[in-house]
Amino acid sequence: MAIEVRIPTILRSYTSGERAVEGKGDTLGDLFADLDTRHDGLRGRLVSDDGALNRFVNVYLNDEDVRFLGGIETPVAEGDVVTILPAVAGGAADKSRAAEKKSAGG
């Protein structure tokens, strides 16, 4: 049962340069865990410590943003295409403070 996952340039270091890889799973979370067994570290770039989708990437199931489907719990099935794109965002405000404090730890 294969699901195609399209990988953006910035993450192709985890897939030996491949633009697309295949994986399996019943949910997006399972799929990412499966991919991580062959592409070590990839999951860590997609999912944050609390298990939710990382806000620096947009993930699409076929052509829909999974944030509007079920996030990391979104069901996936054979024949689906999952596309990962880097979010394009920024701006003058420093919105990163909370995240940085968290990663700095205690």
Binding site: I10, V57, A87, V88, A89, G90, G91, A92, D94, K95
Partner: protein, 146 residues
């Protein structure tokens, strides 16, 4: 270095002025591998904020699809800062590191008379400013106005 046509600079500045005090954002596309900005495309700032911008996720999906189909690349990603200088913020650096192959062009509209435009490469959390060379539009020489 970023080499960019005057009409494209003008388009960025006009967009930034129009959306002020909210941040404006967009891209300039070019043939894949060319590093040549040619096709100007305004993007909607889904955040509609004076201090933050974000491409709408569906727009982003369509943009990448279009870029692939036309064998293009995102040469320039531009946005405005409306109350501060045209220099990448920490948020810009975090997101910018995800698009290291694009020139990050920032414009500041804090002074309505004098728009500041600068270009940067953002890689692995490091910011490197680069010179901007503005060249004349690509109209045939005979048609250019002085």
């Amino acid at each position: 270095m970023l080499r960019i046509r005057q009409d494209l600079v003008d388009a960025i500045v006009a967009h930034a002025r129009r959306d002020h005090p909210d941040e404006a954002c967009g891209v300039i596309l070019g043939p894949a591998g060319s590093d040549r900005p040619e096709r100007f495309k305004e993007m909607l700032n889904a955040a509609r904020s004076p201090t933050f911008f974000e491409f709408d996720s569906q727009d982003l999906f369509r943009l990448y699809k279009e870029v692939d189909e036309r064998d293009e690349e995102i040469v320039v990603i531009y946005h405005s800062h409306t109350a501060t200088e045209a220099y990448p913020s920490r948020t810009d650096i975090q997101f910018g590191s995800l698009s290291p192959d694009s020139h990050w062009v920032l414009v500041s509209t804090r002074d309505p008379e004098e728009i500041e435009l600068r270009s940067f490469r953002i890689r692995d959390g490091d910011v490197e400013e680069e010179p901007v060379e503005v060249v004349a539009g690509d109209a045939p020489e005979s048609l250019k106005t002085q």
